[in-house]
């Protein structure tokens, strides 16, 4: 029997439907469902507002008040509880009516427990990153890597990769790894590319950043 050209066309069309069904299904899985499955959300112990504390605010703290270098050159990335207590000393006289401030007292200051902040830019244990070499010596701005944190009213949602246990911000919030700003991604290649761009390719020797 001769194949019916109409049938054949229909069959071909059907074939494309199946093909696209597969394609679209896979795209949905790959672009939407997979990221949802890969990351779990965790909330920060407190919703800290940089804006409320920062230089522009009524509190008017300089960035260096909390993010400073110790004398041995190590960096106080996130200050300890002691720093908070310097101002938040009396549970009876709160600065705001924010429930977060109450939480700060009841959960941490009273039991003298360090606040278990979730760090967006925490690198793997095998990485050594000296802030002082980048910030002081190479005069890199904080936002080059960290983005505009200082203008945050609320802390971004912390997402952790279920497989690697790293923060989403290492790979970047874009699942494709697309990077628009310098601070969108913090993978090894980004470090290396920047070193190269700055003419410091010798700093791409393995031991410089690995410990």
């Amino acid at each position: 029997m001769e194949p019916d050209p109409k049938q054949e066309r229909k069959g071909k069309r059907d074939g494309w439907i199946f093909f696209f069904a597969g394609l679209i299904g896979a795209l949905i899985v790959g672009w939407i469902i997979f990221p949802l499955l890969l990351y779990s959300e965790r909330s920060q112990p407190l919703n800290f507002s940089h804006v409320k504390h920062g230089p522009e605010s009524s509190v008017g703290l300089d960035c260096e008040e909390c993010h400073f270098f110790y004398e041995d050159g190590t960096f106080s990335g996130i200050p300890g509880l002691k720093k908070c207590i310097e101002c938040h000393e009396d549970p009876e006289s709160l600065y705001t009516d924010s429930p977060e401030e109450v939480k700060l007292f009841t959960n941490f200051i009273e039991p003298l427990k360090e606040i278990p902040w979730l760090v967006y830019s925490r690198q793997p244990d095998c990485v050594y990153f000296p802030h002082i070499a980048h910030v002081k010596m190479a005069e890199t701005e904080c936002r080059v890597c960290h983005g505009d944190f200082a203008t945050n009213h609320t802390l971004p949602v912390f997402k952790v990769n279920r497989l690697t246990k790293y923060s989403i911000d290492i790979w970047g919030r874009n699942i494709a790894g697309y990077r628009k700003n310098t601070w969108d991604r913090m993978k090894m290649n980004d470090c290396a590319a920047c070193h190269k761009q700055q003419g410091k390719e010798h700093n791409n020797a393995c031991l410089v950043c690995h410990k």
Partner: protein, 822 residues
């Protein structure tokens, strides 16, 4: 639309295509690669702020300064402090591994414990401190109510001058028990020799750094003796100098120990004949008139022949030595060629600042009194007593005394009773404590003369040469209380555990670290808060005393251990001299005879205390040389070659019997005037030489902890596989000895003494003296954790100790053994 095979493939192809242009595969590959790097069971070190705490290592009585490095509130490492006068940056392997002692959960008691099962079943119940202390206080009150305070006994391993040791001693005094025993130490023998010859009781102070000829009779200077940090640092400071400008070290040892290897001259007399060698040198000094005539004539007693008050003639030391210790005789005894003896003596005499010293092991084991006296006699002959670069006559620190303890009638009566170990009685007149006679006393009584035994900072079951009789005694004693922070052999035999902090968790003092030649008070700081529900033994003693009540509570009117310690330190402040800081620029020993830097920088006691807590040391960079008549406290007020104190003691002891019988009792072979003088005593083993042809000599290694602190796992890394392999301990045997016994490298063999046998392996080593089997101390634990328990054997299990004449202390290096290959 039909879902045909073809369409399925198309669907699948679309799926693959879609997947490939989605991030899924690429991201997954990356993530899985990272996942393989992050096994959840690989520990992740915690982060935190870096900081350091200045403290002092109190693992031995060396008093080395340490810098404890911390991350957050965790200790991560311990380092030696360059700005500390004792060790100037140096630390021994054990001190370096201290964090493993703190953090090894498997070896620590975490709370007060009460034994619930039968002894040895290791069934324990956690109790509160109140429960534990009230229970113990009631028991002690019970003993006192019965009028038997002496039924409380104690074994204390704390440094005898430390505040904790004094507190424990005070508790015993206040309760009324004379049975407080210190663990035996080399310092005891030093103190005895110093008392007999000089009449002084001060600490050992060898001015080694200022000497130019060090004649060491087996003193393992680089194997952990004294303050190991000080010794190694001192060696490092001179080792690079030309031989002509650095001190000459002649070391006497039967084995190529680390000290022997670094010595300029290594001599190997037969074991136990060191005293004969010393006397041989004395002979040459006297015969050739190379001794210090000035010192010997003016400041000594018993050198020349003399008549006593009763008109009896006595042979002087000079004549006895000339007659009995000619180089030929000494060669016969020691095996050292007479020409070498003569040469050594001449070198000793012609040196500018020679010093002779003794000591066996790291300082945890007693020596032989006559041997120590014989060596010290050389210092006297060369006029090296209380001279720069010689043996300094040191005094205890001027720490403020506590108010006297209060005694009630029970206490005064109790203290009059005889000590169980008979130390200090006419039988052992000069000895502080004796563990083996204590054990014998317990074992030979029908029912135990001890009802409660307190054990602090000691693991005697493991570290006493004659542990068998002690274990038997412990089995018999109804109630044993251990203060040990560790699950060691002794605490596992206890009924009540009152765990102390480990050294990094507490404040402790080391007054005059062993051997250091200038006054120094070392104070340690807690580097971390206590990890577990443990308590400082000092606080526990105070609290216990207060709970017992009565005059005992009145004797302990302090709130805390820190307060008692602080009270003592006031004495240092009142001296009006001393330094708190050391900048590391000029070693203290270089400034001993200058009278500079004495004025303190602190203006009040509080500021001194604060500074002391910060730096961990108070010291006086000077030595008070004084005048001879003040220095020698002997009956003759001179340095005594003829010890009047021995004569007196033996007179007392021989009352009602003949002197010969008394001497036989005390174990002295010599007769005549020699009995009272330094001389060579052959320390014969009880075993038959034919039946047991080899001599077993335990050795201490600097990288193997052999005291009450168990060897931390890091130290196992440094042992060679010819020292420990799997669970087998190796003994060192000379190739000649090995071949006569049919042994090869690695052979398994049974070592058998009169009292027991051990299975070991053989390391054939040229550096071991023929006929001697060298066995390391420190392994063979039956307690602790998997990293230590069951590894190797404990030589003490087959040591067949004899009593050292006069002192009664155990002689642990003359056990005879056989060795049979299996």
């Amino acid at each position: 639309m039909e879902f045909s095979r073809r369409n399925f493939i198309k669907f699948f192809a679309g799926g693959i295509g879609g997947t490939l242009v989605s991030p899924l595969p690429w991201k997954l590959i990356d993530d899985i690669a990272i996942w393989t790097q992050n096994w959840s069971w690989v520990p992740l070190p915690g982060r935190g702020k870096f900081s350091t705490v200045n403290s002092v290592c109190t693992l031995c009585s060396g008093g080395c300064g340490i810098e404890v490095r911390k991350v957050g509130n965790r200790v991560v490492k311990i380092e030696g402090r360059r700005n500390y006068p004792v060790n100037q940056g140096a630390l021994c392997p054990l001190g370096m591994a201290g964090q493993q002692i703190l953090y090894n959960e498997g070896i620590r008691w975490k709370a007060p414990m009460k034994r619930v099962g039968p002894r040895g079943s290791q069934e324990w119940e956690e109790i509160t401190w109140d429960e534990a202390l009230n229970g113990l206080a009631t028991k002690i009150r019970g003993l006192r109510n019965e009028g038997n305070p002496e039924k409380l006994a104690g074994i204390d391993g704390n440094h005898s001058r430390s505040t904790v040791a004094l507190l424990i001693k005070r508790l015993f005094d206040a309760i009324g028990s004379p049975n407080y025993l210190g663990m035996p130490r080399e310092e005891d023998t030093h103190a005895m020799a110093a008392f007999l010859m000089q009449g002084t009781n001060g600490p050992v102070a060898y001015d080694l750094e200022n000497s130019d000829f060090i004649l060491s009779f087996g003193c393992p200077l680089l194997d952990g003796w004294g303050a190991p940090g000080r010794m190694m640092s001192a060696w490092g400071q001179v080792a690079g100098d030309k031989p002509s400008t650095r001190p000459f070290l002649a070391h006497i040892d039967q084995r190529a120990s680390r000290t022997a290897l670094k010595a300029d001259q290594w001599l190997a007399p037969f074991p136990g004949t060191e005293a004969a060698l010393a006397m041989g040198i004395a002979h040459v000094l006297i015969r050739e008139k190379r001794y210090s005539k000035e010192f010997v004539d003016d400041c000594t007693f018993g050198f020349a022949d003399w008549f006593d008050a009763q008109g009896h003639g006595h042979k002087g030391f000079a004549n006895i030595v000339l007659k009995k210790y000619s180089p030929q005789i000494v060669e016969n005894i020691t095996g050292i060629k007479k020409s070498i003896v003569i040469e050594l003596a001449r070198r000793f005499a012609s040196s500018h600042a020679p010093i002779a010293l003794t000591g066996r092991g790291k300082g945890l084991l007693p020596g032989s009194v006559y041997e120590f006296m014989a060596v010290h006699a050389l210092n006297a002959l060369a006029g090296r007593i209380n001279k720069s670069g010689g043996v300094l006559v040191a005094h205890d620190l001027p720490l403020a005394p506590w108010p006297d303890a209060e005694y009630d009638t029970v206490a005064t009566d109790g203290l009059k009773r005889e000590r169980l170990d008979r130390a200090g009685t006419p039988r052992y007149p000069f000895t502080r404590s004796l563990i083996h006679t204590f054990s014998e006393a317990v074992n030979s009584s029908q029912s135990s003369p001890v009802d409660i035994l307190l054990i602090s900072s000691a693991n005697p079951v493991f570290t006493i040469p004659d542990s068998k009789s002690l274990i038997e005694a412990l089995d018999k004693i109804p109630f044993i209380v251990s203060f040990s922070p560790f699950k060691d052999e002794t605490s596992l035999m206890a009924d009540l555990i009152l765990p102390d902090h480990t050294y990094l968790e507490k404040m402790e003092d080391v007054p005059r670290p062993t051997g250091v030649q200038y006054p120094l008070f070392a104070l340690s700081q807690p580097a971390v808060k206590p990890l577990y529900r443990t308590r400082h033994s000092g606080d526990v003693i105070i609290s216990l005393a207060q709970r017992i009540g009565g005059t005992i509570a009145e004797s302990f009117q302090w709130n805390s251990f820190e307060e008692t310690l602080k009270g003592r330190v006031k004495g240092l402040y009142q001296l009006g001299q001393g330094q708190i800081a050391y900048d590391g620029s000029e070693p203290v020993w270089k400034r001993l005879d200058k009278k500079s830097g004495l004025t303190p920088v602190y203006s009040s006691f509080e500021s001194m205390w604060e500074a002391l807590r910060e730096t961990g040391c108070w010291y006086v960079p000077s030595h008070t040389f004084g005048t001879w008549s003040e220095i020698f406290q002997t009956p003759s007020k001179k340095f005594e070659f003829f010890s009047s104190n021995i004569e007196l003691a033996l007179k007392t002891y021989s009352k009602g019997k003949s002197l010969d019988d008394a001497l036989a009792d005390v174990g002295i072979l010599a007769r005549g005037d020699e009995v009272y003088m330094p001389h060579y005593e052959e320390l014969k083993s009880r075993a038959d030489e034919k039946e047991y042809p080899l001599l077993l000599v335990p050795i201490e290694l600097i990288n193997l902890a052999s005291g009450w602190i168990g060897n931390p796992p890091f130290l196992n890394k440094t042992l060679f596989d010819h020292q420990l392999r799997k669970d087998d301990l190796f003994v060192e045997v000379n190739p000649k000895t090995a071949s006569t016994h049919g042994l090869q490298e690695g052979s398994k063999a049974v070592l058998k003494s009169r009292t027991g046998e051990l299975t070991v392996r053989v390391h054939v080593f040229h550096g071991a003296m023929p006929g001697v089997v060298f066995i390391p101390l420190g392994l063979g634990h039956t307690a602790y954790d998997r990293y230590l328990k069951g590894k190797g054997v404990n030589p003490y299990e087959i040591i067949d100790p004899t009593e050292d004449p006069l002192s009664g202390q155990s002689v642990w290096w003359n056990t005879r053994v056989t060795m049979v290959k299996i």
